[in-house]
Symmetry: D2
Subunit: 402 residues, 4 copies
């Protein structure tokens, strides 16, 4: 019986040419799996027909949009995980779900391998393969772009032409992009020079702040236990919620990021990201956490956020550390419930007001004082003992005066 492989398929040139190539070089039936994580109608339309026309034995499109948000985006948001201070991890969070759907399909049809179209220079190969290995170590992994003779877009087009693969647009794309419900990324072309400011034409889902409305707009977001549940007072399912916020944030030019980041595979790269709705949610959640979380817990969360960002970025989603950190953040944010008003204006989202039934601020500390004791006199003793170790050190060893 012919062996089967399940290919992570997007319909684009890079994965389309893998269909004939895998058949020729691995002698396998190629079954395509495409995950709908909100990359847009245009990319998904006619996908099955296209795959079959290109020689695939089957093509399944799975709707992952809600799972994507609730299973990977919400936990990443809850941790306020930001990679290297700026990147909201929009591509990273989608990979584990795509890989899992691929593995599920492989098992269902009895495939012996999985394949992807990532190159050997990026992070995505790592994210896909770590997920495959964690979820289905028995499956062989095929990653042709890492090793084959096709080295450029031109090579790929030639290969497609030879194998009769229809290509929508043949002129070179300037940028390499990845889109989903949460964000879109842009790399390559002129962006590869960090001395070069991002050209205006690169951005796709956020308006140029210069052309955004001249009046600010205020949007109200509510959370329950650090999970977003409503916008403007209306409860929404996750997908609708993010789509709604994307629309309004995009209109105001909110959510653009331009970063030189350190890839897991070792080199620095320059990426532009648009995460419009996500930017509102991070901003709002930060304010709500400040209002509702106890100091030591908040500050440890802050120190653990880079750890969480790193594991998401590195693609170790199905490794044990992630579930342990999730246990921590779930417990730590269980009272992060309430409403935040965020003002959108010319590229910026700014939290301006927040309320919570669990606010640790709402307790009137003046009243509190009378009740059981914020006495200003207490602070004298506090200062002396809090500072005692440093005071003794300064006296005996000399203070850090210089």
């Amino acid at each position: 019986m012919t062996k089967k492989t399940v290919l992570a398929y997007s319909g684009g040139l890079d994965t389309s040419i893998l269909i004939p190539w895998l058949k020729e070089n691995h002698g396998v039936e190629v079954h395509c799996l495409a995950g709908d994580v909100g990359q847009g109608e245009e990319e998904l339309e006619g996908l099955e027909a296209k795959a079959l026309a290109t020689g695939a034995a089957s093509c399944r499109v799975v709707d992952l949009k809600q799972a994507f948000l609730t299973e990977t985006v919400w936990p990443t948001l809850r941790a306020l995980a930001v990679y290297e201070g700026r990147y909201l991890l929009g591509t990273s969070v989608a990979r584990p779900l795509l890989a899992r759907a691929q593995v599920d399909y492989a098992r269902e049809i009895g495939a012996s391998s999985v394949a992807h179209g990532c190159t050997g220079k990026g992070n995505d190969q790592v994210r896909f393969e770590l997920a495959y290995m964690a979820l289905a170590p028995e499956l062989e992994i095929i990653a042709p772009w890492r090793t084959w003779e096709i080295k450029s877009r031109e090579d790929a087009i030639d290969y497609a032409a030879k194998h009769g693969i229809p290509i929508r647009q043949t002129k070179a794309k300037i940028y390499s992009r990845d889109a989903n419900l949460w964000h879109i990324s842009h790399e390559g072309g002129p962006l590869e020079d960090p001395a070069c400011a991002p050209p205006d034409d690169v951005w796709m889902i956020t308006k140029d702040p210069r052309e955004a409305p001249d009046e600010p707009e205020v949007v109200t977001v509510a959370f329950e236990g650090a999970v977003p549940v409503s916008v403007g007072g209306r409860r929404m399912a996750p997908v609708e919620l993010v789509e709604t916020l994307n629309r309004v944030a995009g209109e105001h030019g909110v959510g653009r990021v331009d970063i030189v980041e350190n890839r897991l595979v070792g080199m620095k790269s320059r990426g532009l990201y648009e995460t419009p709705g996500g930017t509102i949610l991070y901003e709002a959640l930060r304010s709500l956490r400040a209002l509702t979380m106890e100091r030591d817990t908040l500050q440890l969360c802050e120190r653990l956020a880079p750890e969480y960002a790193k594991l998401v970025y590195n693609g170790t989603w199905f490794h044990p550390l992630r579930t342990s950190l999730d246990a921590f953040f779930t417990e730590a944010t269980k009272f992060v419930t309430g409403e935040v008003r965020v003002r959108l204006f010319k590229g910026q989202a700014t939290s301006i007001a927040a309320t919570s039934p669990h606010s640790l601020y709402s307790e009137n500390l003046a009243t509190f004082a009378e009740g059981e004791g914020y006495s200003q006199a207490d602070s004298k003793g506090f200062v002396r003992l809090f500072g005692l170790p440093g005071t003794v050190a300064a006296r005996i060893q000399g203070g850090g005066r210089a």
Copy 2:
């Protein structure tokens, strides 16, 4: 001989009434010390005359502007220290220098105590006193606002009237403010309700983004070893550099922050801050660090930034941990030299391009690859071994699939 005290004096109501009070209640000569950290002409003008008129035995005004920037602001910036994710520490960084100047004056004139006008509910009492204790443990500390009978602005005005102290403006100030070259803070009044958006009239040194210019402006900042050295290609002394950036950033409404923060003395408080030039510098430095710092070093810096922010916020500047962390950050950022272009527009500062003679990106990794080896094939082995611990765990103990 009459004992002497040195009072941290601002010319305002809160410290003015301390002059007669200290004389009456502690039987001391009161010598005033005011530090010029860039709070503005208005506050400094006629300060000496005013102090003497109020009964001070002397008043010295010390210019601390450059020391303030080079000794505490630059190191804090170098660490990209941000308290609880948002506050650029503008008040915190000024206190150690003021306390040190006060201690120096006390020693010079043979005073036996130092006094300040901070209340028992804030952070500043801690910052002043920890510095006093570290630098001059022999000096007694007098902090009347913590314990005396004067509880309100009205009480204070009455006390001033009884003691013939001239008061510039008698109507209640709505906000409590602290200004210096680096920032201005606003607290109190309607801000005490975090559900209340900041009123437009609170902001002082940044234009309302709605009224900022409709065209972006790009400013170029250069650093040497993470220390800012020039603006727009022109080398500037620290004070001029920050004043220049404050002007241009303020014009574009850049640098506003609105935060609920955890005070060291235990309660949450709501503060608004304007740090116009500083916001440009943080943004620019973050980009330059990304370009010039090796990954592991950058990521440890990121995890240590909250530690540095905490020590600055808590006022343990003259304790040993600060010098140890400074040694770390100095070494870690020694190649953070180069130029960054920052676009200012309607409240936002965005780094758009960066260059450095020490860029770890500029090395063309494609070329690099040929030279000695970024081979895409390497990544296969990398992925397998990088993921091995998690792969084994997932197989034996079940992956974090759920």
Copy 3:
């Protein structure tokens, strides 16, 4: 109606004299609460009679032994929490339970305050009071030793004599001690000079290693999810388990610690601790964790252990950070199940062998390799990419050669 207070009562001189003092100075009925955390029969015997004879209105002795182990000791052990590298936190873990029992009694009888006999120089006042404040903020806290005129043991004996309080032994105790099922601590006297080696007579529950058996003894301990469940193959309830290990470890002189530590209230102090059974459990658990935990999770546990130790030491047990960290450690250690053999000999406990059904080592990696891939060739690519950021930095900025 006379107000009531609940006193944390031990039967010793320090808390006995509080009974008349509280009645005289606060005009309250004094109700005593003693928790049995395994401090020993001698201390508990006749406690109720003694309290009543001294003037207490009531005295309740609560058996907290099992709760002590399962609620605070096991979680602290699971985190391998060690304060400042050496102290196993034996006193710290008992305080939250004692305070909670006291609060429960106070509520039951309608008391309006709680009282304790800790001085103002130690950690225990903090641990008791933080627990009171977290669990019952409405209760007033009375801490006479911090402020009253009784400053020495002699003063206390005089006071006792005047109030007809029977004292078991009147000659000065050299050491200040605290005992429970988990440990005993020793402070004071000659120990206050860290240049002075611990005298032989200070130790109480561990044999002098010189007099321990000349033959090693091997004890087998089993854990389930990082919780100790059996010794020598026999399942035991927590109390029996710890008593058993204490006996055998004590016989071999295992569990002594001598440390200069940093108290929360700011000064350094020198303490000696004996934690015989606990030392075996920490040693065994460390080995079992190494066998069963995935690398990244293990290494983050290692970095979080000092955080957990600090919160236990500082007494913030009933604050939110503890439950959040417990969620993390519970999840992280859920597969830490298995058996460890520990050799006891002349003061040392050494893990010599471990087995686990969830071992991540037991998987034969040679076999593993064949199956799906530990190929030694993989490591070439791994090394190159793992080291790439540092390699580039070394080339461009110069390596850390010096």
Copy 4:
């Protein structure tokens, strides 16, 4: 002209067979470099003659003993770096120096490559190669054991026989060992089963604790700025100092470690280590740090120690993070000067007394109190404010009572 390679040569079977192999397969002149890091006379004697007899073009033996101690061991000790809680990093610290000497020789003679005899399963390949790449990226790296057809000791012996290489002992060694001044490691054979207790015959430089002297011995060690400078009151050069401590510690059976550790290349391995003198130094330094370091600095050192251990273990010695952390630890430990008495007995080293001219304990805190203020009354305010965030959280959100 024939190309040259520099081989890291030990004289053992594994590196000897590389000489003919490299000549045959790479067509290079093979120049051997052996570093004396204290592995012992037996291994070094006649090394040059042996290399030449095996076909090497040259063989240089470099004395690295002192550099080894001062450049890598002392900094690692200063950080109290311990890998995964137990391993004192004795092999890891030697690799950077050996690699550097090899690179230096390669440059001196104009070699175009470097070669080593490490397999593809261990950490040492990584440590060697990261150093090569950082110090001399232009050199090709040849690592035959990773890829060649020789898979076992038997294969190697055959190969040696065919190429006329003299082999000292032909019968299989049970254990794989690595020795230097600081330690010796043992792996392989029966140790590969963590359920198997270490056999008595594995240990080499420490006496069986059962046969160690029945009387304890006390040794006094002195440090200056965390660097060991004398033993028993006699100043010694580093090599003599470590040899002296090794002798006395070994006599008392001190310094054995048995660990399951996580290798950088992903699998767990079981290693036994003997670090006799090092164990004394770690124990002593920990006590001296406790006496002389301010609390916050000490506690951050504790949290950074695993980071330092990780970089040493992983072999990123010549990467920037190491110099940055060295700057931190150098500054943090500059007052760690003084003397510690350590008792050696039956396998255990126990610090029993310490003194320092910079002791932060020696200050009599009782006296201190009178002077300026340890007033026990201060602690009331301290406790209240220290606990305030948790108190408020407990009241509003419920304490972590459960």
